[in-house]
Amino acid sequence: MTRRKTLISAFAIVAAASMAACSSGSGGSGGAAGKPQSGGDLVMARADEATSLLPSVPTDNSAIWIIEEIYSTLVVPAQDGSGVQPSLATKWKQSADKLSWTFQLRKDAKFTDGRPVTSADVKFSIEQVQKKSSPFAFIDAVITKMDTPDAHTIVFHTAKPWAPLPADMALFANSIVPKDYGGKSAQEFAKHPIGSGPFKFDSWTKGSRLKIVKNTDYWQKGTPKLDSVTFNVVPDSNTRATQLSSGQIQINEYPSNSSIKTVSKTPGLKFSSFPSSEVDYLGMNGSRKPLNDVNVRKAIRLAIDKEGILKSVYYDRAKLAGPYLSPTTWAHNDAIKPTKFDLKAAKAALAKSSVPSGFTTTITISSGDQDASAEAQLIQSALAKIGIKLKIKSLDPSALYSAKGAGNYDMAFGLYTTDIVDPDEIARFGGTFSGGVHTLYTWFNSPTMNKLADKASSGSDQASRKKDYDQMQQIIDDNVPYIPLFYVPGNYSYSSKVHGFKPGATGNYFLEKVWLSK
Amino acid sequence: MTDRAPLLDVADLSVKLQVGGTELHALEHVSFSLGYGEARGLVGESGSGKSLTLRALLGLLPPNATVTSGRMTFDGAEFDLAGTSRSKRRRLERLRGTGISMIFQEPSVALNPVIPVGEQIVDAVMRRDRMRRAEARDYAIHLMKLVGIHDAENKVDAYEFELSGGLKQRVMIAAAVASKPKLILCDEPTTALDVTVQQQILDVFTDLRDELDAGLLYVTHDLAVVSQLCDSVTVLYSGNVMESSADLRDMFDAPRHPYTEALLRSTPDVDRIGRRLYSIPGSAPSLDDRPRGCPFAPRCEYRHDDCEEARVPDKSTSSGREVHCLHQVQQGVSRVALTKEAR
């Protein structure tokens, strides 16, 4: 999924939340505080409202993270992102010819309306995602046919050998909905969605709050612990912080980087970073001169003082990035190191290029994104030192999407996260020219990358796949179509009464494991 | 005229005006008095300070005007008009409506356009007698009838702009007499009206005087009105009293101040149709370059050298005649045929 940084953050009136009661003192709670308790209502504040609770529709985290709580998928990502674990499916197996996968469903899973979950529901659900207008159609595009030999068996036939299929099935979009939406229209269903997840939908006041309550019939006995979870929409980051310190909410979904210091000093509050697949990068439009010159791109990479940005903008809450696949995936190539900031080398690289004495170019940032603005200004001043005049232009997020899609930009920041635990999705998204995405809109086109990606996804041996991915990462590192800047963790600030909160690398909250102490 | 002490005695009233950056002496040492039930005309050209005098008596001067000196005795009580202390102002404010009321020149601006006229009379009624609003309203209707508004029941809820000029002025008069004041100050109440209406209003005044037994201080530039309505007269010129007479007839018959005389000569008279009217040469001095001596001196036909030198002493004579002139007109040069109409 793509984490959206929107103009909303511009509205962030920072009001100094926590600061009222903020004396110093060691923050945080005693990590493993006793025996899990049942009950309690967890309130979470988030920046954006969910768009839709129909699994095949949204791309926004606000919706995704709720969908993951009210529906079940066949498998779920492990909390550490290392692989997938059973959920609705207890067993799965690739056929000998590697052209199909068979999943066995558990028999005790029920929708919250009491009906059992069957293979027909699975088939219907996947078909919804395959529709052209679904944003994740590309994930399920490889599935050519689905068979349902019995109510608890489903067979996926794939167009080519497809190792990542189990990981694909863990994608929120592939959540299982009742067949034909239980006889309702999609729109009606979306108003009162029915799933088989740990929580069930309770109420939704648009623009304000969405409440889910404990599914007492959840097949995994003893969970969830919480009675209910309420998601409040609070666009302003500071209002969220204030509400956290006053106890109005227990979890702040998007704390601002600049609040790290104050929150971690406040007693009763915690600030934690969880590993995430997010990679922030600087994209360059290789279809334009002189950015089509690899030496120019290398010079830019050398001239950026990542450590400085890390300190000033990320407050050290991120890691300098080397290869384009993040360390949260097994495919991460740790032989590739972050490029060292080196102005001399940068000048040398530029001297070898088509524009040895420098040039003028533009970076387009998302309007209202203060971090991006600060980052751009730091890069601007750095590039000036090697003779590159960087102009800053801002566009609102929607316009920026379009500009990037149309190749109508020089340089722009971006970030990507993976939606599935298998590296396939992100290796392709960040490395291949396919699907109209043009290698993160850099117009970098290498047939080798496509071949490697296909090879990797068809192989079932992780070690050999890793080799392919290593090579892909090396190609990107050599050609610099974009510069991976940082591996960014998922940051949360929350009350120390919250226990067991450990979002996975792909974002899942696993709220069924969360409990509140009194 | 009675022998008892006067209803109103004003002495040494001086008012300063702040205009732009300069101070102007708008009134200088003005004195006059008024007996119970007496009607005194306060006559002068525009700018002579007539209206200012009236407003000073009620403490209703505009913010840029200050009373620098002046005492007033009203109905036996002493007031320091120059006082700025809160208590002194309070005393003066208490007089308003109860002892003294005032009628303004322009009824169309003096009545609040967004409050029914009846209510504005009621305000004044309530000032004197604590009564229920409904009663006060009835009383207001009664008053309106008294001043000659025949369908008062219909007009009581009307707004200012729905009434004719004459009716508006009648409403003002009704409001002014509502609290049965001992003294009514009239600031050119008929100037803004049509000539025909003027006469009706004057009739109202004449009737009211009999009815109320109130003193009347009547400011106007119209000598004919004065002669018709008043017993006594004071002539103001450029903030100074020129001539004053307890008997209007006396002065009109034999003006002693050249200004009074000039004023009388320049008044149109039906008896002398076709003759050219006298007009006083020159124009009234602006307040900031008033001569050191007699303010009228530059325009005076009888001017002597000493006129411009020093202030004019009060040349009071007996029988309530007071003339501020070094070289009084000995005999009325022209006998003006202004006669008080027999009632």
């Binding site: 409202e49 623009g207 609070v234 | -």
Partner: protein, 311 residues
């Protein structure tokens, strides 16, 4: 009166049409694509095209415009692309919130402005007047978002009297939570209101009818209440009416800051996500509010000021 009302409503039609048309043109002219925004960066071009087709965005602009007007005429505000639901139902949820906020801030604005104007009128050139005037200039110079943040900082955090935003479900705490946002919005129009009221009050104070009232012996209190405030209040009503646009504009920013689920935050979301129909519907409703408030203002004005007759 009825004729007047009908005439005014007819006159409002071109205005509302203009508002809708301008917002249609502006939204469609601005770069950005609702389909791309909905699908995210990863979706391929074919998916985007498919969604555009599904939403009818591949039709020509004039055709879309006519379709939209046709819909409107039938009272249908259309579907929100972002919220995936009917705009009419969204409007029913959001509109009351904003209306309450606007009314609340209008009341606060009056409660603040009248004493300030009054205070600076009694001695028009005194120290108090100067203080009010400086306050006015400072408030006028401070952008709404800055005032909001300062109010949160001091009244929401330092002296934690009010919650720092949010829209609680219980009515009592909701009203309490609305105080700060309403105050912020109110302050944005206070300078104009104070200035206007003050001018009207001074005019009233120096008028002959007040002198006449004083000559009748009315005290300062009754004169202020029955004469000055009453007359100045009439123009106050007009100024307030005209400022409703500003209040609505203020609500837009402030709803975001204080996490209030009103029209403003919905409109902003719509703009950012190129939810064309939603934005058009919101501006339409905003326009209608303004037109209706103006109408009401004129009616109230006529009730208060007998000189103004609705012909």
């Amino acid at each position: 009166m009825l004729r007047w009302l009908v005439r005014r409503l007819l006159l409002a039609v071109p205005v509302v049409w203009g508002v809708v048309t301008i917002s249609f043109v502006l939204m469609h002219l601005s770069p950005g694509d609702p389909a791309r925004t909905a699908l995210g960066e990863k979706a391929d071009a074919a998916s985007v095209a498919a969604l555009r087709h599904q939403w009818g965005l591949d039709k020509s602009l004039p055709l879309q415009y006519l379709d939209y007007l046709g819909q409107l005429v039938h009272g249908d505000l259309g579907q929100s692309l972002y919220y995936h639901s009917s705009i009419t139902s969204l409007m029913w949820q959001r509109l009351p919130v904003t209306l309450v906020l606007i009314v609340f801030s209008a009341i606060l604005a009056v409660l603040i402005s009248v004493p300030l104007a009054s205070r600076s009128t009694t001695k028009p050139n005194g120290a108090a007047a100067l203080v009010v005037r400086l306050f006015n200039a400072v408030i006028q110079g401070s952008p709404t978002f800055f005032i909001g943040s300062m109010l949160i900082l001091f009244l929401g955090v330092r002296v934690a009297i009010f919650p720092a935003g949010g829209y609680p479900s219980s009515l009592g705490s909701r009203a309490w939570a609305l105080v700060l946002p309403a105050l912020t919005i109110a302050l944005s129009i206070v300078p104009l209101l104070v200035r206007g009221l003050r001018a009207a009050m001074i005019e009233s104070y120096s008028s002959e009818y007040v002198t006449f009232a004083r000559s009748k012996g009315l005290g300062t209190g009754p004169i202020r209440r029955r004469y000055v405030l009453r007359n100045a209040g009439i123009s106050g009503v007009s100024i307030l009416g005209i400022q409703v646009g500003a209040l609505a504009s203020g609500a837009l920013v402030i709803e975001q800051v204080f996490a209030i689920p009103g029209m403003g935050s919905m409109l902003m979301t719509g703009i950012l996500n190129r939810d064309y129909a939603l934005v058009q519907a919101c501006t339409l409703v905003f326009g209608l509010i303004v037109v209706v408030v103006y109408l009401v203002t004129d009616i109230v004005y006529a009730r208060l000021d007998p000189r103004a007759r609705l012909s």
